[in-house]
Symmetry: C2
DNA sequence: ATAATAGTGTCTATAAGACAGTATAAC
DNA sequence: GTTATACTGTCTTATAGACACTATTAT
């Protein structure tokens, strides 16, 4: 649509745009952050036992100011002519060497006064994305702006509830530990909910623990926390679990993925009944030190059969 | 934490920050957009009948380029020292005169190439928020940058499914109509889902209809669509419905709110059974041309009794 | 009486949870 | 046989859906 209307100053759109001065105001910077999550396996001591699974996030050790030497979620400034998703795509390629990965928008940082100061360089709005991968498919590598890359095991454990007059708080520990055990950061997470308001008012605060080996840069603990929450939520009604596994998997492996993310044990028979429409049995078999298991694949037309 | 480490160029953080030139790169602009949603009532012809309810969104008629004369979701540039939420809070106050309103982050626009060009002035990243209000509490007003403000009834109706080789598409009509009926915009929404990939790939496209009276600026149809979807999703497991009603309401009113948002009829007895833990009976009564109804309020400690 | 809505009781269908049992491999 | 996991059947309980019935007001 060509807009020939004139504004209050008598300008057409064309004239207005020609006169528009982008630099009349100061602009914030915009970055993307990428939470790359995966399910890793802890090598079992007994060969006959199945390996335990755990949730992991990819962190890079920063080789540049600010937060030089700290661990952080990979990310960076976006180009002027680059879409946010495209920027994330580029980061994923840089970080992992792979292009075809599931990711979705998670949360945009820069909401309140505290977050206005989140980067000492300038005002930074950061759009965070959550990406999910099968760990066996990728091999992360450090590059110019990063000194190291590691997978960190993520765990969020419940501590206690505190009741106040107008609110109650749930207190958790969010812990991050690198595979080699050299870096370990814990955060105390306090989620307070107002009991006064009609609508949910939720304030979350984070406190780094004294004994931490290593530091997490920026306010990235917020992103990790958000990502866990989102994943926990969505895994129940989507097919996201399958993005964390190879194309072929056993039902026990699948169950462990659910158990790690939901953070609770599931009853085998019930689990199998529930996910049966989402999977297809293959003729391959996984051999092991006990009864062999059937391999399954994701049933690609699960969705449209179950939404009318 | 004071960071005394030196980077590759031998600079401390302090020296690095002193030398940091914000203007070394061009920056995108950042705006917030605010989707203010409410439940409105269509005046019934028969006094004895209860009024029908419908979902409405607040749109402003732009008095400035670009999209001068078009309807748009209210919004604007953020200040350098202003948090995103704070900017939205300010807009809400400007637009409605009220401060205490529920709102949450919805979605950040600017994801792909098409969205890089979404504003003819410059590259604009827009962080959209969804706000929910009881329509009786507020009185929207136009101001300097807007020529008019109106509530638009929002409806999304299903048309058909089209099956292709590697995908299937659901086609909907998204319609917006002002209370006075003078402005009416329809969009054909095509949601295609890939049937090939392990993970959900969903592409949505929008097409304005020829017969439209009035235009919607920018890509704001995307936001309206996202907001409907979010609301539909969250109303089932949150207390958001109560933000759309006065403090006291009848169970029939509450049921109508759910029906409008979920876009289906509910069975009264079952609905009441399900929401009973969320509400408290008051001693007030609503008189009308039939059996009077009890007023209820939201049960503020519904949440923590139902999450262990 | 009638129109219109308020409010309740109960039967049925479906899904979730618990648990016990059998099967099959390596050692 | 033992260990460790794979896989299945069935009972119980909880939840969702359908439907019928009674109650109360204004006109």
């Amino acid at each position: 649509m060509e807009n020939k209307l004139k504004d209050k100053k008598g300008l057409t759109e064309e004239a207005f745009l020609a006169a528009y001065d982008v630099n009349a105001f100061e602009h914030p910077s915009v970055t993307v952050d990428m939470l790359l999550l995966t399910i890793g396996e802890k090598e079992a001591d007994d060969i006959r036992k199945l390996p335990e699974k755990e949730l992991r996030v990819l962190l890079v050790k920063r080789a540049e100011h600010p937060y030089l030497g700290c661990w952080a979620v990979p990310g960076g400034f976006i180009g002027m002519k680059e879409g946010l998703r495209e920027a994330v795509q580029r980061k994923i390629k840089d970080e992992t060497g792979v292009a075809d990965i599931y990711f979705e928008q998670l949360y945009t940082l820069g909401e309140d006064q505290e977050e206005v100061m989140r980067d000492p360089r300038t005002r930074v709005i950061s759009v965070a994305y959550m990406a999910l991968v099968d760990q066996t498919k990728i091999r992360p590598k450090a590059h110019d702006t990063t000194e190291d890359v590691k997978w960190f095991t993520v765990k969020k454990t419940f501590n206690r509830v505190e009741k106040e007059d107008a609110s109650y708080s749930e207190i958790y520990t969010l812990s991050l530990e690198s595979e080699d055990g050299k870096d370990k950061m814990d955060y105390e997470v306090t989620e307070s909910h107002s009991t006064q308001s009609i609508y949910p008012i939720r304030k979350v605060s984070y406190k780094a623990q004294e004994k931490n080996k290593g530091h997490l840069g920026f306010d990235h603990y917020k992103l990790i926390d958000k990502a866990i929450e989102r994943l926990k939520n969505k895994i129940e009604y989507t097919s996201l679990a399958f993005t964390l596994l190879p194309e072929q998997f056993t039902l026990s492996e699948l169950q462990k993925v659910y158990e790690v993310i939901l953070d609770k044990k599931l009853v085998k028979a019930n689990f199998r009944r529930k996910i049966s429409p989402m999977v297809i049995k293959t003729d391959s078999i996984q051999k092991s030190g006990h009864r062999p298991a059937n391999y399954y694949t994701y049933n690609k037309d699960w969705r449209h059969n179950f939404m009318e």
